[in-house]
Symmetry: C2
Subunit: 202 residues, 2 copies
DNA sequence: AATAGAACCGGACCACGGTCCGTTTATTCA
DNA sequence: TGAATAAACGGACCGTGGTCCGGTTCTATT
């Protein structure tokens, strides 16, 4: 439950020169393959081959397929974090909590439109999936906004339930089957926020 | 978007005698193995061997590992459905929507305490996971209760966000890491319901 | 520059999910 | 009851994620 707020793209301790070089090469190769064939079709063998390395090296650097996907996602995720933590309102600080919560939903859904495929590809492995720094950060952010918005009781638990709505797999499924449109989900979120926060006293 | 309300344990059309027998044998074998080694450690080879059948047969009957898990879950899931659709209040009909929603949360969390492992083992495969009859039924149920409770706007979208909180993987992760206790999640759900529904006019 | 030792590399290897197709078996109908 | 047909069976086979360990390469120390 500790560690850096914003997840870094590199490892905690500095690696040897060749290791760092290889890590970069692997990321480049993976990005190219995703762009070319899609995240779902990316195989670890292909990444290793394209990077001109052995498969063992890829696993040594990233631990698993999920870990590699997480690393790929990392940069985009950090931009998103930057936006909701330090960016301009209403997503960033400066707007009332209610507006920020609403903006968060739209922003996250839009994020998934672009990066959802990679996000979805880092399957199972709950520890990596739900325990990632990005996931924690978003949870904490929502909790803070809820508290800020004057919600009574256990803001942390409430934040959990709200955050669960932004599951890449779930959202992708609903959009693909046509069960919901992006707009419906976005509007639903705003309504949820509206109902959860106490009425404005003005 | 059609089909039976309660998912059946067997296939739609009747199968040949031997096929039905084998289906039963596979389910028995799978259940024993789950009881013995846990759902996560269950392999399709082991199931086939224990059932005295070829692997191909197992896949023919259940399509995939996820499908087999779903079948294992099916009976328990149907009991749960029975309870919230026709059982005694407050979970079943007869109580006000607010109480029923609250009871639903507790009941579902308790369900996951028991069956969560199997539920979690039917990984990925969004179509099977999120599109299952049980998932749809719960979603519809929540939607109905929300509408019944007088929630304004798009009850369906709201129901989606509420249902997302009951993800076996998510819940298991939170409980295992000690981030939340069962009770905190249950209480959080009740608070969420309380906040989402319009205040009682009495 | 030489040496020691840790870190890293590679690719053979394993386990598991899933597919395929030749063979076997249940059912139907004459 | 026997032939015809459709369905089911089995297990060899494949691709992929992940592991392992002997050999190699980098870095620190003197």
């Amino acid at each position: 439950m500790s560690g850096p707020i914003l997840p870094a793209n590199g490892p905690a301790e500095p690696e040897r020169g060749d290791a760092a070089r290889n890590r970069a090469a692997i990321l480049v190769a993976a990005r190219e393959l995703v762009a070319q064939c899609g995240a779902a079709a990316l195989t670890m063998d292909a990444v290793a081959f394209r990077a001109g390395l052995g498969k063992g090296t890829v696993f040594r650097r990233f631990g698993s397929r999920a870990g590699l996907m997480l690393a790929l996602l990392d940069q985009s995720e950090r931009e998103f974090q930057q936006a909701f933590m330090f960016g301009p309102p209403p997503l960033g600080p400066g707007a009332p909590a209610r507006e920020r919560l609403m903006a968060f939903g739209r922003a996250r859904l839009a994020f998934m439109d672009v990066h959802g495929e990679v996000e979805r590809a880092r399957d199972l492995s709950a520890a990596i999936h739900f325990g990632s720094a990005a996931a924690r950060l978003q949870h904490t952010h929502l909790e803070m906004l809820l508290r800020d918005g004057g919600v009574p009781g256990d803001a942390r638990a409430l934040a959990y339930y709200l955050a669960a709505g932004f599951d890449a797999g779930r959202v992708a499924f609903l959009l693909e089957t046509g069960e919901f449109t992006h707009e419906q989900l976005a509007a639903g979120w705003e309504q949820l926020v509206d109902n959860v926060l106490p009425p404005l006293s003005e």
